[in-house]
């Protein structure tokens, strides 16, 4: 097991290095001059030139890359040219919010999607299957921003059940930061009022974000169940008189979710990057708006750091997916 994980980590490192090179080149090919943006609206050409020197922007790109690599090696992601804060600190501050949202959205997709997928698989090519498929595809097809606004109108404006935006009401004091995950911090601080409020703030964005994943999970679980049902062992287990519910939800399901788990891994990467729209609409203080801001201002350090971060999370989640695969199916672990 340990060997398995170590091997995967070792395989990931060159990929991340490659990712860094690609992103570095890409970002540096962008014509936007960070010095111009950094100097601000009222700056003079002399001021801009000075900044360019100060930040080594006038130096050859490989020199800039070498300097950057040296820093990354010591986990120093540099300082944002704009916020003047260490990028690592900004990310540490914001990532938990995004992760919290992503986890909740994924959990929603999984807890709803897997049972629906199983049901669709069992009812293959009947009306319930058709309806489930159409509805799950609706989830993918509906534009998230449109759906988000509809949710806001219904649940915040008309019914007034859920807050419109943000992660905590202004009237509620933030709990002391321990983990950075607001819900956890509320619990650690024993602040149930804040926890309830934070949870309510989480509902609409999480529901919106879960939509796209839901369809994918339904789709792959359904295919997995259909596949598993073809296997001889299902007939055998029926012939041996397994209880139907246990047969489906334990014995069939565990064989069926391998592809779903892979998809969850892929979704996770996509959700982190794709949460931008949802974060914008719900004013969620996560990594998404930070990224967009960085791109709009040409904040290279932040763009690099975010790419590296998303790449790392993506790779990490994929390792996790492999581990889960191994736990689900003992045969896989032995092949390593």
């Amino acid at each position: 097991m340990l060997r398995f994980v170590l091997r995967r980590v070792a395989l990931v490192l060159p990929s991340l290095a490659g990712l860094l090179v690609v992103t570095f080149l890409l970002i540096h090919a962008v014509p936007s001059d960070p010095a111009v943006a950094m100097a601000g609206d009222a700056a003079t050409p002399e001021q801009i030139e000075r900044l360019r020197k100060q930040y080594g922007l006038d130096r050859p790109i490989w020199e800039q890359f070498a300097v950057y690599l040296g820093k990354v090696a010591t986990l120093d992601l540099g300082e944002s040219a704009f916020t003047r804060r260490p990028v690592a600190r900004d990310i540490v501050q914001r990532l938990p919010a995004t992760l919290e949202l992503t986890f909740c959205a994924l959990a929603l997709s999984v807890f709803i999607g897997v049972p629906l997928g199983v049901m669709a698989g069992l009812k293959h090519n009947t009306w319930p299957d058709y309806l489930l498929r159409v509805f799950s595809v609706l989830g993918i097809a509906v534009a998230a921003f449109w759906f988000a606004i509809m949710l806001q109108l219904l649940f915040s404006m008309q019914l007034g059940w859920l807050p419109l935006r943000g992660e905590l009401d202004v009237s509620i004091a933030r709990p002391t930061r321990v983990t950075g995950f607001l819900l956890l911090d509320c619990l650690i601080a024993g602040r149930l009022d804040a926890f309830a409020d934070a949870a309510r703030h989480l509902v609409l964005p999480a529901v919106t974000l879960s939509l796209g994943g839901l369809a994918t999970i339904v789709r792959f679980t359904r295919a997995g169940v259909l596949d598993t049902l073809q296997h001889d062992f299902v007939f055998y287990e029926r012939a041996m008189g397994y209880r139907r519910l246990r047969l489906i939800w334990i014995y069939v399901l565990r064989n069926s979710v391998t592809a779903t788990v892979t998809q969850i891994g892929l979704l996770f990467g996509g959700l982190i990057a794709g949460g931008v729209v949802v974060e914008a609409i719900f004013d969620w203080p996560g990594i998404g708006s930070y990224t967009v801001q960085a791109i709009l201002t040409g904040d290279r350090q932040v763009m690099l750091a975010v790419t590296l971060l998303v790449g790392t999370v993506y790779a990490g989640v994929n390792i996790l997916v492999d581990v889960v695969h191994g736990l689900l199916d003992p045969r896989l672990m032995e092949r390593t």
């Binding site: 014509p31 936007s32 001059d33 960070p34 111009v36 943006a37 950094m38 100097a39 601000g40 609206d41 009222a42 700056a43 003079t44 050409p45 002399e46 001021q47 801009i48 000075r50 704009f82 916020t83 003047r84 804060r85 260490p86 900004d90 501050q93 914001r94 606004i149 509809m150 806001q152 109108l153 219904l154 915040s156 404006m157 008309q158 019914l159 007034g160 059940w161 859920l162 807050p163 419109l164 935006r165 943000g166 009401d169 202004v170 009237s171 933030r174 409020d197 309510r200 974060e279 914008a280 609409i281 719900f282 004013d283 203080p285 708006s289 930070y290 801001q293 709009l296 201002t297 040409g298």
Partner: protein, 532 residues
Amino acid sequence: MSRHGRLGRRELGGLAIGAFAAGALRSAQAADATTFVSGFGLPINLDPHQIFDVPMQAVMLNAYDNLYRYQGDPPKIVPWLAESHTVSADGLTWEFKLRSGVKFHDGSPLTADDVVYSFRRMLALALAPAGAFLKILKPEGVTAPEPLVVRFKLETSYAPFFAAIPSISIVNPRQIKANEKDGDWAKSWLASNGAGSGSYRIVPAGYRPLEYLDMEIFDGHFLGWSDNPKPVRKIACRPTKESSTRLLALLDGSLDCTDTNLPADQVAQINASKIAYVQKDVVMRTFIIRMNNTKPPFDNLNARRCFAHAFNYMGFITDILGGYATRDPYPMPDTLWGIPKDAKGYDYDLAKAKEYMAKAVAEGAPMKRPFELHVQSENEQSVQGAQLFQSDLAQIGINLKVVGNIWSNLTTAAAKPETTPDMWVHWVSTYFVDPENWVGQMYDSQFHGTWKASAYYKNPEVDALLRKARALTKQEERAPLYEEAIRKIMADSPDIWIYNSMQLQGLNKRIKGRRFCTVGQGAEMRWVTLAS
């Protein structure tokens, strides 16, 4: 969803279950009478010596103080930390007499040394706010001859110096020095902290860049609070990122004010609500379509005039902006001094445009080539204006392509005439209230290379007039020079000047005592009271 734009919750009031659920679940959204939830955008960081833009004003005016400050509408420059000032006859030596008894947030007194330190820090960082000072002021030119007197020795006479004085915030050197690293003037630290003396103090734990910022009242502010017995005690800045969310939050009561870029189309909706209304204020912020005068056919006067006549000014202002802007045919706000009121601007007249086009073509101008008009794609208004222009130009046979772009790319591109687009759209806001902010920096060829001068207009006569006006200190002497320069500029039609903005801001009706000034756009909170 209500089709009438009125999101009256009462429409659903009949639904007992809904009402019950709403009652049961709705949190204490009923806004607290001493907390103001602000929708002003946040600056990219909190250091007033690094950032100088509109969102920074909302932080600066509340958390810091300046020697002088713009107040009122139209704006007047009034004493603030300084009681008064004197200027030498040659316009080179300025002395400011400070108030006594001013305290920083940490309780230490504010003295002339602190002012000197603040100016020197600003000059050393040499970032945006320093733009107006770098050429005329050396660090050693700022001194404190007496504990409450600050003296500036300028290198050259520069009239806008005084107009720019309110843009510099006075910071607390003791706090700064305590957080300095490697002689960085604590610019990392101040980027997410406050070190001022303003009416409100920044709560560092309540700050996440670009997301939220909490400020709490500073009871020891030098002006005292006798003029506002029931002030806002906490300013919670919660900027919105989406225009629809902004609108909903305002109508929902969870936002007390929006930022000042409310689209005209949302005005009716807000005004129809019970809880909020739209405040209209005339500001000095001109909307311009730039032309790159170095690129043919824009090097041709008739071509430029053709374009100037092809924009449907009133259609844009009346129909698209709902009338919430005033036609401004001049290259700067028509409310500012120095405007030649007799000069006639360009009007929408496709026939004339065609005439000029024919002339330009006769002179060999390549009018048939496709043109690019760059807009900031995230800005709805500029996109709409561009599309309107596109539609009209198509009628006279000009092929215009609207290209979405972003600010940082555009300003980078504008640094060289070759990379500057054919045309692009932007506003010029009030950085300081002086013609220098507009025509001075836009049409004096010495500024070529900055985005403000991106028309690359060059007229030696105009250059001479503008330079002369810059060096004089008296407004009466300067005004005729600017009027003369503007007449010449307008005759050359280097750009298409469209309107001076009317600022639209959605406000909760509980807000009382708001004082508006074009500088800061009404973000200064110290007189605001929240009615219950």
